[in-house]
Protein backbone atom coordinates (compact mmCIF):
# COMPACT_ATOMS: atom_id res chain seq x y z
CA UNK A 1 0.00 0.00 0.00
CA UNK A 2 0.96 3.64 -0.29
CA UNK A 3 3.11 5.09 2.43
CA UNK A 4 3.40 8.66 3.65
CA UNK A 5 4.15 11.02 0.78
CA UNK A 6 5.56 14.52 0.95
CA UNK A 7 5.76 17.22 -1.67
CA UNK A 8 7.84 18.80 -2.92
CA UNK A 9 10.81 16.53 -2.35
CA UNK A 10 13.13 19.53 -2.63
CA UNK A 11 12.46 23.23 -2.24
CA UNK A 12 14.92 26.06 -2.75
CA UNK A 13 13.78 29.52 -1.74
CA UNK A 14 15.20 32.89 -0.89
CA UNK A 15 15.39 34.40 2.55
CA UNK A 16 12.17 36.18 3.42
CA UNK A 17 9.92 34.13 1.15
CA UNK A 18 6.91 32.04 2.17
CA UNK A 19 6.86 28.26 1.67
CA UNK A 20 4.30 25.49 2.05
CA UNK A 21 5.22 21.85 2.56
CA UNK A 22 2.59 19.16 2.04
CA UNK A 23 2.13 15.77 3.71
CA UNK A 24 -0.23 12.98 2.60
CA UNK A 25 -0.50 10.46 5.43
CA UNK A 26 -1.34 6.79 5.13
CA UNK A 27 -5.07 6.43 4.51
CA UNK A 28 -7.00 5.95 7.74
CA UNK A 29 -4.25 7.20 10.01
CA UNK A 30 -5.71 9.65 12.51
CA UNK A 31 -2.46 10.98 13.96
CA UNK A 32 0.01 13.10 11.97
CA UNK A 33 3.36 14.49 13.08
CA UNK A 34 5.86 16.98 11.70
CA UNK A 35 9.56 16.81 12.55
CA UNK A 36 12.58 18.80 11.40
CA UNK A 37 15.96 17.18 10.84
CA UNK A 38 19.01 19.37 10.55
CA UNK A 39 22.21 18.09 9.00
CA UNK A 40 23.93 15.58 11.26
CA UNK A 41 21.11 15.56 13.81
CA UNK A 42 18.17 13.39 14.69
CA UNK A 43 14.62 14.54 13.92
CA UNK A 44 13.18 17.21 16.20
CA UNK A 45 9.47 17.25 17.01
CA UNK A 46 7.48 20.23 15.72
CA UNK A 47 3.74 19.52 15.95
CA UNK A 48 1.26 16.67 16.28
CA UNK A 49 -2.33 16.46 14.99
CA UNK A 50 -5.06 14.16 16.20
CA UNK A 51 -7.72 14.45 13.52
CA UNK A 52 -8.09 18.07 12.48
CA UNK A 53 -6.78 19.66 15.63
CA UNK A 54 -3.23 20.38 16.68
CA UNK A 55 -2.92 18.42 19.91
CA UNK A 56 0.64 19.52 20.65
CA UNK A 57 2.45 22.37 18.87
CA UNK A 58 5.11 22.84 21.51
CA UNK A 59 7.95 22.12 19.08
CA UNK A 60 7.19 24.94 16.64
CA UNK A 61 10.23 27.24 16.98
CA UNK A 62 8.38 30.55 16.59
CA UNK A 63 5.28 32.17 15.13
CA UNK A 64 6.67 32.04 11.59
CA UNK A 65 5.78 28.34 11.58
CA UNK A 66 2.19 27.17 11.27
CA UNK A 67 0.55 23.90 10.28
CA UNK A 68 -2.97 22.90 9.35
CA UNK A 69 -4.90 19.72 8.72
CA UNK A 70 -8.38 20.99 7.78
CA UNK A 71 -10.02 17.69 6.83
CA UNK A 72 -8.10 15.35 9.09
CA UNK A 73 -6.00 13.90 6.30
CA UNK A 74 -3.54 16.03 4.29
CA UNK A 75 -1.47 18.49 6.29
CA UNK A 76 0.43 21.60 5.23
CA UNK A 77 3.37 23.10 7.12
CA UNK A 78 3.68 26.80 6.40
CA UNK A 79 6.78 28.88 7.01
CA UNK A 80 6.64 32.65 6.69
CA UNK A 81 9.59 34.98 6.17
CA UNK A 82 12.01 32.10 5.79
CA UNK A 83 15.49 32.38 7.29
CA UNK A 84 18.68 30.55 6.37
CA UNK A 85 18.46 28.69 9.68
CA UNK A 86 15.20 27.10 8.52
CA UNK A 87 17.17 24.99 6.03
CA UNK A 88 16.62 21.35 6.98
CA UNK A 89 14.73 18.22 6.03
CA UNK A 90 11.11 18.42 7.13
CA UNK A 91 9.71 14.98 7.90
CA UNK A 92 6.08 14.00 8.23
CA UNK A 93 4.88 10.85 9.96
CA UNK A 94 1.49 9.28 10.56
CA UNK A 95 0.14 6.59 12.86
CA UNK A 96 -3.09 4.66 13.08
CA UNK A 97 -3.77 5.84 16.61
CA UNK A 98 -1.93 7.42 19.46
CA UNK A 99 0.21 6.05 22.27
CA UNK A 100 3.73 4.71 22.45
CA UNK A 101 2.71 1.33 21.06
CA UNK A 102 1.56 2.91 17.78
CA UNK A 103 4.17 2.87 15.03
CA UNK A 104 4.90 6.18 13.38
CA UNK A 105 5.49 5.78 9.63
CA UNK A 106 7.70 8.46 8.16
CA UNK A 107 7.66 10.00 4.72
CA UNK A 108 10.85 10.69 2.74
CA UNK A 109 10.90 14.33 3.76
CA UNK A 110 11.10 17.69 2.03
CA UNK A 111 14.59 19.15 1.77
CA UNK A 112 14.29 22.90 2.26
CA UNK A 113 17.18 25.17 1.37
CA UNK A 114 16.89 28.86 2.16
CA UNK A 115 19.44 30.96 0.30
Amino acid sequence: GAGVSQTPSNKVTEKGKYVELRCDPISGHTALYWYRQSLGQGPEFLIYFQGTGAADDSGLPNDRFFAVRPEGSVSTLKIQRTERGDSAVYLCASSLGTGFRETQYFGPGTRLLVL
Binding site: F45, A55, D56, L91, G99, F100, P108
Partner: protein, 110 residues
Protein backbone atom coordinates in the same frame (compact mmCIF):
# COMPACT_ATOMS: atom_id res chain seq x y z
CA UNK B 1 21.38 19.79 25.57
CA UNK B 2 20.44 16.49 23.96
CA UNK B 3 17.92 14.51 25.99
CA UNK B 4 19.13 11.28 24.40
CA UNK B 5 22.86 10.91 23.79
CA UNK B 6 24.06 8.35 21.30
CA UNK B 7 27.57 7.01 21.05
CA UNK B 8 29.54 6.72 19.00
CA UNK B 9 28.33 9.33 16.52
CA UNK B 10 30.34 7.72 13.72
CA UNK B 11 31.50 4.13 13.35
CA UNK B 12 33.29 2.52 10.44
CA UNK B 13 34.16 -1.17 10.65
CA UNK B 14 34.93 -4.12 8.42
CA UNK B 15 32.37 -6.66 7.28
CA UNK B 16 32.06 -9.53 9.73
CA UNK B 17 32.93 -7.53 12.85
CA UNK B 18 30.59 -6.99 15.79
CA UNK B 19 29.55 -3.60 17.11
CA UNK B 20 27.49 -1.94 19.83
CA UNK B 21 25.77 1.43 19.72
CA UNK B 22 24.61 3.14 22.92
CA UNK B 23 21.73 5.45 23.75
CA UNK B 24 21.83 7.14 27.15
CA UNK B 25 19.67 9.60 29.05
CA UNK B 26 19.28 11.02 32.53
CA UNK B 27 15.52 10.73 32.11
CA UNK B 28 13.29 7.69 32.45
CA UNK B 29 11.34 6.72 29.36
CA UNK B 30 8.21 4.59 29.17
CA UNK B 31 9.66 3.06 26.03
CA UNK B 32 12.60 3.45 23.70
CA UNK B 33 12.64 2.83 19.99
CA UNK B 34 15.40 2.24 17.46
CA UNK B 35 15.12 3.45 13.89
CA UNK B 36 17.27 3.09 10.82
CA UNK B 37 17.41 5.86 8.22
CA UNK B 38 18.79 5.58 4.70
CA UNK B 39 19.89 8.64 2.70
CA UNK B 40 16.92 10.44 1.18
CA UNK B 41 14.39 8.51 3.23
CA UNK B 42 12.58 8.84 6.52
CA UNK B 43 13.44 6.75 9.59
CA UNK B 44 12.04 3.21 9.69
CA UNK B 45 11.17 1.61 13.02
CA UNK B 46 13.26 -1.43 13.93
CA UNK B 47 12.07 -2.19 17.46
CA UNK B 48 10.30 -0.85 20.54
CA UNK B 49 11.47 -1.86 24.02
CA UNK B 50 9.11 -1.24 26.90
CA UNK B 51 10.14 -3.20 30.00
CA UNK B 52 13.31 -2.47 31.97
CA UNK B 53 15.89 -5.16 31.22
CA UNK B 54 14.05 -6.27 28.09
CA UNK B 55 16.09 -7.86 25.30
CA UNK B 56 14.76 -8.18 21.76
CA UNK B 57 16.43 -9.83 18.80
CA UNK B 58 15.90 -9.08 15.14
CA UNK B 59 18.08 -11.47 13.12
CA UNK B 60 21.66 -10.26 13.78
CA UNK B 61 20.50 -7.22 15.77
CA UNK B 62 20.05 -7.38 19.55
CA UNK B 63 18.37 -4.54 21.41
CA UNK B 64 18.46 -4.09 25.17
CA UNK B 65 16.59 -1.67 27.44
CA UNK B 66 18.36 -0.75 30.66
CA UNK B 67 16.92 -1.87 33.98
CA UNK B 68 16.19 1.73 34.97
CA UNK B 69 14.68 2.51 31.55
CA UNK B 70 17.15 5.34 30.96
CA UNK B 71 19.41 3.70 28.40
CA UNK B 72 19.45 1.22 25.57
CA UNK B 73 21.94 -0.52 23.34
CA UNK B 74 21.96 -1.99 19.86
CA UNK B 75 24.39 -4.81 19.13
CA UNK B 76 25.02 -6.06 15.61
CA UNK B 77 26.71 -9.41 15.10
CA UNK B 78 28.74 -10.12 11.97
CA UNK B 79 28.00 -6.76 10.36
CA UNK B 80 27.28 -6.69 6.64
CA UNK B 81 27.52 -3.81 4.13
CA UNK B 82 23.71 -3.76 4.02
CA UNK B 83 23.72 -2.66 7.67
CA UNK B 84 25.20 0.69 6.65
CA UNK B 85 22.98 3.59 7.63
CA UNK B 86 22.01 6.09 10.32
CA UNK B 87 20.73 4.46 13.50
CA UNK B 88 18.52 6.59 15.73
CA UNK B 89 17.16 5.95 19.17
CA UNK B 90 14.00 7.72 20.29
CA UNK B 91 11.94 7.92 23.43
CA UNK B 92 8.38 9.00 24.01
CA UNK B 93 7.71 12.18 25.96
CA UNK B 94 4.10 11.64 26.81
CA UNK B 95 2.17 9.27 24.61
CA UNK B 96 2.81 10.86 21.25
CA UNK B 97 5.88 13.08 21.07
CA UNK B 98 9.10 11.34 20.08
CA UNK B 99 12.48 12.68 21.22
CA UNK B 100 15.37 11.47 19.07
CA UNK B 101 19.07 11.08 19.72
CA UNK B 102 21.51 12.65 17.26
CA UNK B 103 22.13 9.31 15.58
CA UNK B 104 25.01 6.95 14.93
CA UNK B 105 26.26 6.87 11.37
CA UNK B 106 27.42 3.33 10.69
CA UNK B 107 29.55 2.30 7.72
CA UNK B 108 30.36 -1.35 7.04
CA UNK B 109 33.23 -1.78 4.63
CA UNK B 110 33.31 -4.88 2.39
Amino acid sequence: TQLLEQSPQFLSIQEGENLTVYCNSSSVFSSLQWYRQEPGEGPVLLVTVVTGGEVKKLKRLTFQFGDARKDSSLHITAAQPGDTGLYLCAGHQGAQKLVFGQGTRLTINP
